[in-house]
Amino acid sequence: MENMVNIKINGVPYTVPAGISILEAARYAGIEIPTLCFLKEINEIGACRICMVEVKGARSLVTACVYPVNEGMEVFTNTERVRNSRRHTLELVLSTHNKNCLTCVRSGNCELQKLCKEFGVEDADRFAGRMPDFEFDDSAAHMIRDNSKCILCRRCVAACQLQDVAVIGANARGFDTHISSAFDKDLADVSCVSCGQCIVHCPTGALREKDDTAKVFAAINDPEKFVIVHTAPSIRVTLGEAFGMHMGTNVQGKMVAALRRLGFDKVFDTNFTADLTIVEEANELVERVSNGGTLPMITSCSPGWIKYCEHYYPTELDHLSTCKSPQQMFGATIKTWYAQKMGIDPKNIVCVGIMPCTAKKFEAQRDDQSASGYPDIDYALTTRELARMIETAGLFFPKLPDEEFDNPLGEGTGAAVIFGATGGVMEAALRTAVETITGKELEDVNFTEVRGTKGIKEATYNVNGMEIKVCAASGLSNAKKVMDEVKAGTSPYTFIEIMACPGGCVNGGGQPVQHAVVRNFYDLKAIRGAALYEADKNLPKRKSHESEAIKTVYSEFFGKPGSHKAHEVLHTSYVARPKYK
């Protein structure tokens, strides 16, 4: 074949596509070449030197991650020379590494630790010497940067750049090189959007979310407190990964069982307020369209996106839906309607969200998010923090029984569950909006045009003779493209969904960390997202407005969508933010 080349890896002949890297070719041969810095397409910098292999005839070792195969190439991946090289690299990296591994959040899940074991590093202090001055930054609401554990692979930098945020990068040079913000400013003082993509790309414990598990355990232990937990749509398809289960396994039942066993008083589903969001947002859209409001209207579920818009498009905030995110709507509804209904003082309610997202921690602390006079949400935990709580409690997750959410806020439709994937909010909104406008039941609820992991998806629908052009963008560099049009006044859309993280919440910054070797060869967001669409397919109700719980909450409390009460409780406001403080 024309585009194939014949190579040998460790003496065995293979025919592989021309132009692929040695790393990829080795996968064909069933050989995993270790990498640290390499992230396919976004960080192909050849900096960490851990993937060095021998190529016959080459002057020195070459980096398998970026070195293309060519006809007749002979590669050796496991020679003494290669092993020595990798061991030396690890020993040197360890010489500037904070080796408090026993207390590290990534212990057992650290890519550096794994490689040290694999390459038989025996003396972590063999090249001990002076250490750089490490920066420790806990200024941000959502995360901690501990440069003493940073190995300068720059995956975080690439992830941040991919988000078009780029608030971190290499500063100083040589031995003093370190990752930080411009002028070494604190993360809280720059335009970090809290998306957490840096964290899920970090191979070590240098980047981590602020851990709120102790506070949640304390609340559970406090007899005064009524502790309610609710889980975002995507958690059910990612939590299993933290316990060694296959990517894309739906563990909803076991997750509910675990939460109950952790001692939460009520285990609810954020899907309830995802449905509520759709009803409110659809109403807002209809109002904007009929009353000449600001269009296109853009979704507001993703707090990373909201913060990005506030920093980078401060003049375009009118386009944002005023609806609070499902997390915040949940807390707000719990501490008003539910508290009233159950006769509990909202002061004593602790509302905990389990989120795929680190920006949710920031969102929980925003102004104008306390409908009851108390913060709507007390703690936003990431999927990873929940996994740690389950570990702490000694629950053997895979063996837990499958249980159901509590009522009445445990009900969610198929429309809600797909919120966790890019295009899901758009599809959910369309299911409701089209039926509302036409007054007719949809023949097919599947709006497949807005599905899939493509960064920007657009579709045009003809509803009652009205042409509605919509767009779903995920990843902030895609958001930027869409927003530049909005800012220029040339955006062709009526309604836009934007999710901060590429692929949406399934690939959120609070999700279980998958090593680069997994990220490079599997499309995480597609696998996890597919599980959500599968869940949608199997649910009896797939349209938000058909949820019984939603009907109840409107009839008992809010009246109708967009009512004064709904505005008081379920809507919020935004502020323009500078790029640097």
Binding site: I45, G46, L61, S85, G129
Partner: protein, 605 residues
Amino acid sequence: MIRSQVLVCGGTGCTSSGSKAVLAAFEEEIVKQGLDEEIKIVPTGCFGLCERGPVVIVYPEGTFYSRVQKDDVAEIVEEHLLKGRIVERLVYKDVAEDVKTELKDGFDPSKVSLNDTIFYKSQKRVALRNCGVINPESIDEYIAVDGYAALGKVLTEMTPEEVIKVVSDSGLRGRGGGGFPTGRKWSFTAANQADQKYVVCNADEGDPGAFMDRSVLEGDPHCIVEAMTICGYATGATEGYIYVRAEYPIAVKRLEIAIEQAKEYGLLGDNIFDSGFSFNLHIRLGAGAFVCGEETALMTSIEGNRGEPRPRPPYPAVKGLFGKPTTENNVETFANIPQIILKGADWFASMGTERSKGTKVFALGGKITNTGLVEIPMGTTLRKVIEEIGGGVPNGKKFKAAQTGGPSGGCIPASLIDTEIDYDNLTAIGCMMGSGGLIVMDEDNCMVDIAKFFLNFTVDESCGKCAPCRIGTMRMKEILEKITEGNGTLEDLDKLEELALYIKENSLCGLGQTAPNPVLATLKFFRDEYEAHVVDHKCPAGVCKALLNYTIIADKCKGCTKCARNCPVGAISGQVKQPHVIDNSVCIKCGACMDNCSFGAIIKG
């Protein structure tokens, strides 16, 4: 009618020794003497003999005045220019033996020209041919010495393939250090189709003590403009960038002038010589990072990013500047191009050795009499460069080694002084040509200290991207510090070598891959010095302070107290007229006592 020209060197060396004032004094003095209609004062680029600067040459006699100060100018103007009497005391007298013999009645300064001096006689100026000859700020002077004729020939008589063939046949290899065949490099870029290609001139000369490229840019900027345009034509590029250090303000200014003048004359810009070929040049200033001399880091820097190397492949010829096919050569390489085009490949290939053709410019520095710039045919022995052209090691000291290639290079020990300098011979002895820094060391230099000096430099200049260079060089430096402080062990030497070999093989770019060379070379040729530090706790050259003790020989000490009075830390005690004693626990090894002792009673070791 101009009857005489006075050339005043405006190169960096002479500028720093006061040539600006000399130039101003000449301008003023000829007016005062009413000679401004007959005498022309020409500021030029570097002559090379920086040690003897400021340098002034008076034509048509060709009288070579050295170390001219502004107070000497009135005398030169009155005596030489007005009365025709050469000012003998200022004439450079170090002429070749055979010239002296020819001048039967001994030394006659009026008959000695520049090329008769020992310094110049063995040199062959190709890259530096116009330096010190023309006014670099005048395109007319450049044209008068066949400037832009090569470009004219290329655009009107030759196809791009023919140009590349001439360059290939000449055997020219990259003068930036790597020695890659220039013609082949050009042919790679030419072979790649793209909507845009680039030519880049690497003028980010960063080796400590090297200033070859600087001198070419300051002394002959037009030849770079011309050569880059030729390269553009040959490779199919229409845009060029010169990446030059911001620390070279004179070079930058002269390049800017040259580009403007060339544009004005239609030698640069759109449709040059009506040939349909267009070429534009831009200058980018480097912020002083050594790594930006590495070709991919340089391009990353031009693109506006942090100057860091990128992995190769893809090579610049495929994916270079802004992701487009790019040819990058250094200044000296380009400086050879117009001559090769005009005089032909055979002419160039007739100079040099089998696999290293042409000449090479070296910046001579260190323990050498004639500090400065020399251009020699490839294959000249190191002995000739040091003993003849360089005037030998001063103060009767013994030559120990020559360091070439700066922080990427190695050293040539005295035992190999007869090595013929070319790419392959230097590589064979574990050294490298580098960009042309040549630092001479004598018996007072400690080779461990030299290795530490260069490693300090790389540690400072490592970009920090890859682990071997970022961390490895620091660990090597720490071991060297340990050794020079007297705390080293024999195991440290092994570890040093182990790290050096690892860093060489595993670093991302040339900076890291060559950073251990100074250590490896000194370990190879001067292992005994390392061992003296480690085993005997002695620094044989008496450089490493921690291993140094000053002692007063009681028999010689007269008790004059001068040493004690000059000791800044009060480490010396003793009665008047009684032998004194140094307390080594207090002594800071500054050497003030030894310098001040009139009786030779203090020794170090």
